[in-house]
Amino acid sequence: MSMTIIEKILAHGAGLEEAHTGDLVVCDVDMTVLIDLQFATMWTEPTRIADPERLAVIMDHAVPAPSVNDADGGVRAREFVKRFGIERFFDVGRHGICHQVIAENGLARPGQILTCTDSHTCAAGAYNTAARGLGPIEVYSIMCTGKTWFQVAPTIRYELLGAKPEIVSGKDIFLHVAGTYGDATNHNLEFGGEGLASVPMNDRRTIATQGAEVSADFTTFPADELCLDFLQQRIGERPVAVEADPNASYADLRQVDLSALEPWVARPGKVADNALPLSQLEPRKVDQCFIGSCANGQLEDLRIAAEMLRGRCVAPGVRLIVTPASQAVYTQAVHEGYVETLADAGAIVTNSTCGACFGYHMGLLGAGEVCITASTRNFKGRMGSPDAEIYMASPRTVAAAAIAGEIIDPRDILG
């Protein structure tokens, strides 16, 4: 019987010939990622673990430590990796937001299963991986046993048609999907189609990351030549792609004409059924603009921000915060001159961390403030006061808002 990408990967992980909607499968997990918060909040050092080769530890959410509690977590993390011989340890200085570090280091591979204690682990679906976020206890359990279970959800297939215009980013594609089709709770998302070739890897990862924002289980992409080239550069070999069978069964088939898309924006609170084309949004002044996170702190996002800000200034009374997704992105952005351009324009370029995105440290919003963000989430209170408003858009649109002091079409800035 025909299978979707995710059904094939889960079947393989469970040692089965096939897996289909509704099946409960117990899978070997190929790579598990622990993050710093795990060590700061509920850590008990285990007596033994399944396999140090299938484990990575990444410091990202609260670095450099903004509190003694977080610092103590760092101490426990370093003790743990030393005791158990974990080679894939990304400590502060060679760290980054886990999903960026996973991508840079080829930890997510086609056909494999990857789990991590962060809800945006679906990001690695961009690399043809079955990846999802799980709670801290479950990730701890997988660290110990090497296994977990999944109940195969029905899959919604997005068929991308046409070619993506330059002005449209992965964020706009995702916001279009979320605003048009709403939540996908207890469903998987699979993207594909002839239009995919026009969507670069960074945009695919933005889309996959945000699958969590429509409540999806797994979000996956096929591994085309672009994806395989990306992975080969990082792991030194060309992996084998997992493709959906031609007659695979989908809960729904939805077409997206990329060539017809324009910049999109989400209103505050959520993205599902709450996003619209930017051209339809009423005028809105902003206090803070943020470009960062696992979704949009990639080098390409910083390049776009720098291009927008080159020779221009952040508007008076507006704050623009830019957070590179990893130390590697940060150093590349320095070498490329993006950091200089952004800083000259009045932006704050921070160290790599999840800090501002989840309102834990740095760049919090006060009551009554309006923020437009190219990050992962626009929940009420997510970035500080519950009485602040968080709009969401692409890095280009966020940069345009920083320049204009209000949410505008970036093409109005570019002229």
């Binding site: 509920m42 509190s67 709670g135 206890i137 479950e138 279970w149 959800a153 709770t185 834990y360 009420k380």
Partner: protein, 171 residues
């Protein structure tokens, strides 16, 4: 696991996200302290009213958002079970893995009045008003998942299998 739970229902709406229940600022606190901020903006003061054995009933897409262990905070407050018309899967797993029953019952939030006393049969996924007898039938959890719940979540099993140092095995 308690198979049948009787308690007061606290009824909430759709798409309650994890920031509603476990806001970023509460992540800096102990679970005991963080629990005081559940629904801090949506229903201020709720954590002073909720009592041990109560049941939280929500609408669709309950728990969209992060992997923050909200279940741990509900357990701190004494909440005995979660019922929703639809759960976000990460949120549901988090609850089960902490040993907190999470039962999907379509129509629950629309049918059950806030503050009513309900009887929840966790294994059969059935909820009814006490004294009324009229019930709603949900989708039972797979036996595999009920077993995790029956064991009190993942930690007792890990402890029994010797993965945890014995002193920390107790919860």
């Amino acid at each position: 696991m308690q198979d049948v739970i009787e308690g007061r229902a606290w009824v909430f709406g759709d798409s309650l996200d994890t920031d509603n229940m476990y806001p970023g600022f509460a992540m800096k606190l102990s679970a005991q302290e963080a629990a005081k901020h559940v629904f801090y903006d949506l229903r201020p003061g709720w954590t002073d009213l909720v009592e041990a054995g109560d049941i939280v009933v929500a609408g669709c897409n309950f728990g969209i958002g992060s992997s923050r262990p909200v279940a741990q905070l509900f357990l701190e407050l004494g909440v005995a079970a979660l019922v929703a018309e639809e759960f976000n899967s990460l949120f549901l797993r988090n609850s089960i893995n902490f040993g907190l029953a999470a039962v999907t019952v379509p129509g629950a939030a629309k049918t059950i009045a806030d503050a009513s006393t309900v009887r929840l049969d966790v294994r059969r996924a059935r909820i009814e008003l006490v004294g009324d007898g009229a019930g709603l039938q949900g989708t039972p959890l797979p036996d595999f998942v009920l077993d995790i719940l029956a064991q009190g979540g993942l930690l007792p099993k890990l402890a029994a299998d010797g993965y945890l140092p014995t002193a920390s095995a107790r919860r």
